[in-house]
Structures are given as C-alpha cells and as structure tokens.
C-alpha cells in the first residue's frame, strides 16, 4: 500500500509543478463548449436541449487530450521501466498512475462544469446530476484511456491513433451520462443511470489495468 500511495503522491506533485498542462486542458474544455452556442445560435431552449450532450462530448474530448500525460513522460525519461521492475505489481502501478491522472487532470474539469452548464441554460437539477454522472463516469474514461495510452506510448505520433482506439469505447459512458442528466432535467429518477455508469466503472476497473500493464511491458521491451 505504501508504494501505491507514494506513487500517487509523486504524480500529483509532478502535475502541480508542471501546472501549465492543467490550465491548457481547462481552457480547451471551456473553449470547446463555447463553440456550440456560437455554432447553433444563442436560443436558450435549443441550448438547454443540447446542453447535456455538449458538456459530455466536451468532457470526453478534454479527457482524451490529457491521456498521453499518464505514461508518456515516464516512458521518455526511463522512469517507467524502473517502475515496472519495482515492488508494486504492474497493474497496481498502472492504477496508481491512472488515479493520479484522474485527480489532477479530470477532477478540475468536473469542478468547472457547473459554470459551463449554467451558461448553457441547464436547470439546477440537471447541474447536480451532471456533476454526479461525471464523478462516476469519468473514471471509466481514464481507465479505458489508460489502455489506449499504454498501447501508443512508444509511438512518436500516437495521438491520432489513440483517439481512434479510445473514442469508440467511450460511447457507452457518453450515452448513460447524457441520459442521467436528461432524466434529472425531466424530473425522472437519476439513480438507475448513475448505477449503470457505476457498473461500467467496476468493469473497467477489473479489465483495464491488466490490459494497460500488458501494453506497457510491450512498450518497454
């Protein structure tokens, strides 16, 4: 347990020292969401209709853009191979890094979402459901993304490939996530959708670290 926490702490410290990356992702999220009202017009009822989808797609793309940060730097400077032969089994090492990545790169996006949601004319019930759904759903994005990031870590221009590999697998999260918010706006129960997202998260927690660890071994070979 101690190596696990040490590694999480180190990755969070690293992310804080290199703060610029975080603000970049946040800016991207805000700008991407801003484009939609400009694209479809400022009518409030249209914005309210597309709001949940826009925010989820924005969050999805922002998450995806941060994925290369999970393993890339450690791969390039050789820390990754040292971590792989360390005391922590590879799949827990992967899990620690994904957790740190989620805390530093994804959690800030969730925290800024209420402001964006209100700008898209989302009712307060919807905002609460949006944040809840993001909290349960985005770990799935980080976990699946971790597999993609591990598969492409050794490639010089893996970014586009990473998005092709990962985005189709993000679709269930998008569907259930948007459904949760729409249910809340329609004053229907939200819990079933959140539970579906929770189910996805558990499934991803079982499968993804194993797959990502195998892919990382491949990259350092």
């Amino acid at each position: 347990m101690k190596p696990f926490l040490t590694l999480v702490q180190r990755d969070i410290q690293l992310a804080i020292r290199q703060g610029s990356a975080l603000t970049l992702t946040l800016s991207f999220f805000v700008i991407a969401v801003t484009l939609f009202p400009l694209g479809v017009g400022p009518e409030l009822n249209i914005l309210a209709r597309i709001g949940p989808g826009v925010l989820w797609v924005g969050a999805l793309l922002s998450c995806m853009l941060t994925l290369d940060r999970i393993f890339q730097a450690d791969f390039e400077d050789g820390s990754l191979e040292q971590l792989l032969i360390g005391p922590l089994p590879a799949l827990f090492m992967v899990l620690a890094k994904i957790l740190a990545h989620w805390v530093t790169s994804v959690l800030p996006l969730i925290l800024i979402t209420p402001i964006l949601a209100i700008s898209l004319n989302m009712p307060i019930d919807g905002v609460v459901a949006m944040v809840g759904a993001l909290l349960v759903g985005t770990p799935v994005l980080s976990l699946i993304g971790g597999v993609g990031a591990a598969l492409t870590v050794a490639m010089r221009r893996g970014g586009v490939l990473l998005s092709i590999l990962v985005l189709p697998l993000y679709i269930p999260v998008l569907i259930f996530g948007v459904a949760a918010v729409e249910a809340a706006i329609a004053l229907l129960p939200v819990a079933p959708h959140i539970m579906l997202l929770g189910g996805l998260a558990l499934g991803a927690l079982v499968i993804c670290p194993v797959a990502a660890a195998a892919a990382l071994r491949l990259a350092t070979e």
Binding site: I164, I171, I175, C208, A214, L218
Partner: protein, 243 residues
C-alpha cells in the same frame, strides 16, 4: 541468423490445410451465392409495404452477421496467439480484419440504400446501423495499430490486447446503443427487421449467410497464405542483411 524459420514463418502444415480448403471454399461460394441470390431476388415474395426493396435485406443482414462474427473470431484467434504464443494465430487474426471491415462496410452501405426508400433518407440513427458504424471504427483502430509498430511481435501483442478489450466492450456498446435508440426514437419508425420473418424469407437469408461464410473462408485462405509468405520473405531479407 534470423529467428528460427521453421518455428515462426514456415507453418507448412497450416499452408497445406489452407491449400486443400481453398478450391472447395471457392466452389461452395459460387454455388451458394447463385442459389441465395436466386432465392432472394426471384423466389422470395415482395413485401406488401416495401415492395422489391425488401430484397436488399438478403445482402444487408448477412453482411452485418459476418461483421460481428468475424470480430469475434479475431478475438478468439488473438487470444490463442497471446496465450499459446502460436504465431499463425496472430497472422490469422490480422488476415481477418480487412475482410470483417469490408463486410461491416457493406452492411452500412446496403443499410443506407435500404433506408432511402424506407425512411426517405439515406441515414437514420437506427440502433443497428449505429452499432455497425461503431464496429467499423473498432476494425479501423485494429488495423491501424498493426501498421503502427515496426516490430512484428509487438504489433501482434498490441493488436491482441486491443481486440480483446474491444470484444468485451461490444456487448456493452450494443446494449447502450439499443437503449439510447429506444430512448430517442419515436416508436412509429419501422426497424430494419421489417415484417415478421417467414420461411420464404428466412431460407434465402440463411443461404446468403452461408454463402458469405464461404466467401470469407475463400478470401481468408488467400490472405493468410499471403501473410505467411510475406513473413517468410521478411525473414529471408533479414538473413541476407546479416550475412
């Protein structure tokens, strides 16, 4: 010296099996395709609502079946390659991918052509069509990752990891898309399934399914043989450089 030729690129037995199957599969393909198309285009009754356009189904539905089942076969083949480190299994999965992608693409194109007379537009976000589209993305990712590694054995393992994660996800994606569809689509829109299936329709469908399977086997034989010979060529080149 290159890696042991016999073990890695000279699966003689496999090649001879492929060689034996190939002519029969080709023959079977022709026979089944002719029978299936005849039954589908001339024998099966036209639909009372859709008229002759319903016959697109005989090309469309089996193509969708093939798209899905080939992905599953790829996953099984990759798992064999990953667990038992059998080199032919990796080559076999790699050979299947473009065929599966082609069938998936065929099902999308015929689906769009069928959609035009049925819905008045070439594309509706029907649950089945959308799932097939996502499946096509999965195929494209799989083929892209094979191209992205210089080292053959690394590419094989990476592709195997990807296809296994994908195959676990397919039921989840399918479920979520179906569910999304019922949530958003008014019930009055007809589904791809058309009217209740009658045996005069089912028979040509199954014959066409078998014909596609035979076609797949035929192309697979050619592709897998080409892959094996390509590997052998690379080995010879490596040997030449090293001498």
């Amino acid at each position: 010296m290159a890696v042991d030729l016999h073990k890695y690129a000279n699966p003689k037995r496999f090649l001879s099996i492929i060689g034996a199957i190939y002519p029969w599969a080709a023959l079977l393909t022709v026979g089944l395709l002719v029978t299936g198309l005849y039954l589908g285009l001339f024998v099966a009754p036209e639909d009372y609502q859709q008229g002759d356009t319903v016959r697109i189904m005989f090309v469309h539905v089996p193509a969708a079946w093939m798209g899905l089942s080939i992905y599953t076969m790829m996953a099984i083949s990759s798992a064999v390659g990953l667990i038992w480190k059998h080199p032919v299994a990796d080559l076999s999965a790699k050979s299947m991918a473009p065929i599966g992608a082609a069938f998936t693409f065929l099902s999308l194109v015929t689906g769009a052509l069928w959609g035009q007379p049925m819905w008045g537009t070439y594309w509706v976000w029907d649950a089945r069509l959308t799932s097939m589209l996502i499946l096509l993305f999965l195929y494209l990712g799989y083929m892209a990752i094979w191209e992205s590694f210089d080292d053959y054995s690394k590419a094989a393992k990476a592709a195997a990891i990807l296809v296994l994660v994908g195959v676990i996800n397919i039921p989840v994606i399918k479920f979520s898309v179906d569910w999304w569809n019922t949530l958003h689509q008014p019930a009055s829109v007809a589904t791809m399934e058309g009217p209740k299936i009658h045996s005069s329709i089912l028979t040509p469908l199954l014959v066409m399914g078998a014909a596609y399977m035979a076609l797949f086997t035929t192309i697979y034989c050619v592709r897998v043989k080409a892959e094996i010979l390509g590997r052998r060529l690379r080995m010879l080149q490596i040997n030449q450089i090293q001498e």
